[in-house]
């Protein structure tokens, strides 16, 4: 056997073994990874909709039709509908993302179709500047904006202390770019999701 063939055979065997190891690990950890993702998502939804006992994930089709998704792994536009122990509809939680100062900010917010307001906001993932932009996830004054944020009007971010209307977000001083990114994120997401939720409200309330 020539030296070239010998080297190719060795590399082939090593590659095959490495491939088997990777596939084995992937298969072995798949269930656990899915479970972790589902737990994180459900915990986030529960934090935004207190009292939630049951949730249904609705996928939004290109034709604005709703389909019930089997698990959190399903991709595409979607939202979570929350229900209490008696089956009463509490509201929906929507995922949204927008380019921030350092990278994309991913967040979830709760929306009440009854009052047409945003009732809660939580950052899921971000890489904003520590001590400045990353305050969007913890600053009590900033998070106060999302207790009853009017979603019937395009949401806008105003400079710190200049908030006058219920659809305005009072920015964090020193973190204007990140605050504005949150405003843009909510404005775009509400414009896309709220009409679909309102159109299908009866179905969502019945959990169908």
């Amino acid at each position: 056997m020539s030296q070239g063939t010998q080297m190719m055979r060795l590399l082939g065997i090593v590659s095959l073994l490495c491939g088997l190891l990777i596939v084995g690990t992937q298969r072995g950890t798949l269930a656990r990874i899915r479970h972790n993702q589902e737990t994180i998502m459900r915990e986030s939804v529960a934090r935004l909709l207190p009292g939630i006992e049951k949730q249904i994930i609705y996928g939004i089709q290109p034709s604005d039709e709703l389909t019930i998704l089997p698990n959190v792994e399903a991709s595409g536009p979607r939202f979570f509908a929350g229900y209490d122990a008696s089956g009463r509809f509490l509201g929906v939680v929507v995922e949204a993302s927008e380019r921030g100062y350092a990278d994309v900010i991913s967040a979830m917010y709760s929306y009440s179709p009854e009052t047409q307001t945003i009732t809660g906001f939580q950052v899921i993932d971000m890489k904003e500047t520590p001590g400045l932009g990353n305050k969007i996830s913890s600053d009590p004054g900033f998070l106060e904006n999302f207790k009853q944020l009017d979603a019937t009007h395009p949401i806008t971010t105003v400079t710190h202390g200049a908030k006058k209307n219920p659809w305005e977000i009072d920015a964090i001083s020193g973190a204007t770019i990140s605050s504005r990114a949150v405003g843009r994120m909510l404005q775009k997401s509400v414009a896309a999701v709220a009409p679909v939720v309102q159109r299908n409200l009866g179905r969502i309330e019945r959990g169908q």
């Binding site: 030296q3 010998q6 080297m7 060795l10 590399l11 090593v14 590659s15 490495c18 190891l21 990777i22 690990t25 992937q26 950890t29 656990r32 990874i33 972790n36 993702q37 994180i40 993932d125 500047t129 520590p130 001590g131 400045l132």
Partner: protein, 240 residues
């Protein structure tokens, strides 16, 4: 300052040790912890060292991930070292390191998604950490499996120790917390600079200075003690 390794077979081209004594085996483990610490002595793997150490939790997670990669990659490489032709050894080593990194990637994701998100692209980048290839080429490719695993563990724990040192300084000064627990009162104003990239360089410089001063001081003390012992042993007749 003596930076030479204490294990002769660590040198590229060094002879393989077929039957290592227990002392040699221990040296294979402890060398990476202190005498050849990957960060404080060899100054390798600077990318994760500077990028990940803005919290102690991330530093420990990154260190342990690297430790697993180094121990498993060293084991695989040592197992096949006699079969791999010289011409394709680097390709084979990279393949095995990449496999170990991919396994770690899945394991971290299965253990904790928040940690996985915090470490971001730096887990896949372990494959390009020069420390892993350096140990594969200079140690695992020339030594038996047991010693190679110990070398990987020693280097990995040394790396974890260094990352934790940096992470401690940066988290305590930059956020006023340790492992997420607040250390100071509400009046503490965090020194945010330490969480930003310049803080990484400043912390690393402080630790390198401290480590170098300590090494020089201990070596001078050792030299002085040896000289004193040698002076005591000189026969009186010679002095006369």
């Amino acid at each position: 300052m003596n930076h030479e390794p204490t294990v002769p077979s660590c040198h590229p081209g060094g002879a393989a040790v077929s039957n290592p004594s227990p002392t040699e085996t221990m040296v294979a483990f402890t060398t990476g912890l202190w005498k050849q610490n990957p960060v404080f002595v060899m100054v390798l793997g600077m990318c994760p060292t500077l990028a990940i150490t803005n919290s102690v939790r991330n530093a420990i997670a990154m260190g342990l991930a690297t430790t697993f990669v180094m121990a498993s990659a060293n084991a695989f490489i040592s197992m096949v070292r006699k079969m791999v032709p010289k011409q394709v050894r680097i390709a084979t080593y990279i393949l095995m390191i990449a496999t170990s990194v991919t396994i770690v990637d899945y394991l971290v994701k299965a253990i904790s998604i928040p940690v996985y998100k915090a470490l971001g692209p730096f887990i896949p980048l372990i494959v390009s950490n020069c420390l892993t290839l350096e140990r594969a080429e200079s140690y695992a490719g020339k030594n038996p499996i047991g010693k190679s695993i110990l070398d990987g563990l020693g280097m990995g724990f040394g790396f974890t120790f260094a990352l934790t040192c940096l992470g401690t300084v940066r988290e305590v000064l930059g956020a006023g917390t340790f492992l997420g627990f607040p250390l100071f009162g509400k009046n503490f104003e965090p020194w945010v600079l330490f969480l930003l990239p310049p803080g990484g360089f400043i912390s690393l410089a402080m630790w390198l200075l401290t480590f170098t001063f300590w090494r020089e001081w201990s070596e001078k003390r050792k030299a002085a003690r040896t000289a004193a012992e040698a002076a005591e042993e000189i026969p009186v007749e010679v002095i006369l």
